[in-house]
Symmetry: C2
Subunit: 386 residues, 2 copies
């Protein structure tokens, strides 16, 4: 199979950007990625952008052409991909496939979301577009409510503790405290998590990723084109899978089946096993989801994720560093941007350029981006050498 | 290059479906496509669905997983593509590229939109998500207003007449009157168009495609897989391009630059010229847009589109039959479904299975799907033999 590399990355600060529009943020991240790659826009042949719900957040669909215009890239083909919070991992995957198809050599995969200045409804209400409208959203469920149900199931079945959940947030904030792009770059303690306001029992405020504005961009190149770039990081595997939107239709409430199927596909394509993964960026929209990820990616047995966290194995110096740059919890979670942000962070780690956050010797990284309460999962495996 | 064929098609009736949900419509069209292809769902390896704005129309994003679940196709990868009214041509193109990439052999490309039972705002307001929110939507422009501006420019520059615009609608309704899937299967006269209510001068009600609910599905197969299907229709070329969302940023108000760029790419890939096209399905969201299409696809010189229509060249028995099955005007325009509906209709014509609407001897067809006021254009060329 052809080889494809990531040759440029860019990210805005994740924050409440009251003074910047979605088009500003997208353009800023795109410019940074072009600078990082050392190329000009005219070399870009297509653009893929992940965005969940700009139609509801800011009244703007059709972001693909808009981002292309604002970035001076017209008239190249531009496509928006959406699968809730997994939108930009899917944009990245389409970008990857478009190069594998032989149709393009150098393309942009971006993600962007502007969530704070929503009008007429709350961001939480808009986010429920990602759940099942007829069976979940319409009766008033929220995402933290859905994840609280999953948390209770996991606690009941496997004895996962409230403290172990808190340790996920503590780990991610410990890393994010050193990330200049993070929305909440501060360390927190287990006690602070346990005393933070209850949102949906048993999940508390500091179990929840925040509402964020931000954008992230990657530039992908074919093997031939990648020869002209320094520091390519290679895509070794890509997997994607779907599950029911509604929780009540799932076969299990203690695993994310889509993650398992997507991971199997990505591991298979890469010819790797979980033991080969040096670092992972996973989707901690709520603390429980990092425990699901650790288990469903095969880092430990089902039900042992809480212990895995408690034993410090996910720490930057641990056995399997997870969310080494802060995760969604500390960096922030502009929903449509997160998937590409995760990949950009992996690239920076695999290049060995992450400064204080660098995980030494990291050669193989995995990113897991999840949509909704697990109805979409996308797994990408990247390697510094292939 | 590898060859990819369309091996199955399905479409719901386009209508006001007050008794069916978006999931019902998607599933119905998908079942019809599987029946048409003669395969079971378990053979489908990935799904791509075009949808413009279900988040605003019905409060439901994340349609990709939902459609996959409702159709019994879990856990395959599923991706929603959006570029306003060009959403499903882009889904079709991603499906095509995913096969070219070697990642899949048999995939679904679908399109669906439910526009009638919108709550809290008008469908016209939701549709303005496809225009430039900051420069157009926010000041109260509507799409018929934007296209009225384009119409005035075309009339002023090229002497295109009010009657010629009416003849576009008359042609499309003449065809659509025989289309059992059409929302408005009735012939209309020039006089009726000219006496219909003014919407945005000079465009009248019968210049405008309607608000519609509906879904359409195609099944694509690699050359190897296509051997197991009867009646494959081959994808000869695919082109896509972007332009500014806002009209005031365009280089010209009398041509659709994105259409020209996309058409050039599709003709180039197919190794064909406009003279080789037997029939075309083009994006007559408003009557003027069919005249733009005829010119920008190269069927006649710039400015002569009105005369081309007046001379009867687009009629089913004419020199270049356009919108032979009714167009958006008569069939209806569920915005995210139209691109795939156009391709499904081409396939039916190229198979020679369109009964009363059959264009005899049609071997090569072109579909043009346009997003917004021309910010996205996608052109696909299909052939009965390659």
């Amino acid at each position: 199979m052809k080889r494809v590399a990531v040759v440029g990355i860019g990210q805005t600060k994740f924050s409440e950007h009251w003074d910047k529009s979605l088009r500003d943020l997208s353009t800023e991240a795109g410019s940074l990625a072009l600078q990082d790659a050392g190329i000009e826009g005219k070399e870009i042949q297509a653009l893929f952008i992940g965005n969940m719900s700009a139609g509801r957040f800011i009244g703007q669909e059709h972001l693909s052409s808009l981002a292309t215009d604002q970035s001076g890239l017209l008239p190249i083909p531009a496509t928006r991909c959406e699968a809730a919070c997994a939108s930009s991992a899917l944009a990245f995957r389409q970008a990857y496939h478009s190069i594998l198809s032989g149709q393009h050599d150098i393309v942009v995969a971006a993600g962007a979301e502007k969530m704070n200045d929503i009008k007429g409804e709350s961001a939480s209400a808009a986010l429920m577009g990602a759940a099942d409208q007829e069976w979940e959203s319409a009766i008033g469920l929220t995402f933290v409510g859905l994840y609280a149900l999953l948390t209770k199931s996991h606690m009941k079945n496997y004895g996962t503790t409230r403290e172990q959940l808190a340790m996920v947030s503590v780990n991610n904030h410990r890393n994010g405290a050193l990330n200049e792009k993070a929305q909440f770059p501060a360390e927190i303690t287990i006690e602070q998590v346990l005393k933070s306001p209850m949102i949906a029992d048993p999940l508390r405020l500091l179990d929840c990723s925040p509402i964020t504005d931000g954008a992230a961009v990657t530039i992908l190149a074919s093997e031939e084109a990648a020869k002209n770039f320094e520091r390519p990081v290679w895509i070794a595997g890509s997997g994607q899978a779907s599950d029911t939107l509604a929780l009540h239709d799932r076969k299990s409430l203690t695993e994310m089946l889509a993650t398992k199927v997507a991971a199997k596909a990505a591991y298979g394509q890469a010819g790797l096993r979980q033991g080969d993964i040096d670092i992972a960026e996973v989707h901690d929209c709520f603390s429980i989801n990092e425990i699901f990820a650790i288990e469903d990616l095969g880092f430990c047995k089902k039900g042992e994720g809480g212990k895995f966290v408690e034993d410090g194995k996910i720490a930057r110096g641990g056995e399997k560093p997870v969310n080494t740059t802060g995760g969604l919890k500390s960096i922030g979670h502009p929903v449509g941007a997160t998937g590409v942000r995760q990949i950009a962070d992996l690239v920076k780690q695999l290049r060995g350029e992450y400064g204080k956050l660098q995980v030494n010797g990291a050669r193989t990284g995995l990113a897991l981006n999840v949509g909704g309460s697990g109805a979409t999962a996308a797994v990408h495996i990247l390697r510094s050498e292939l």
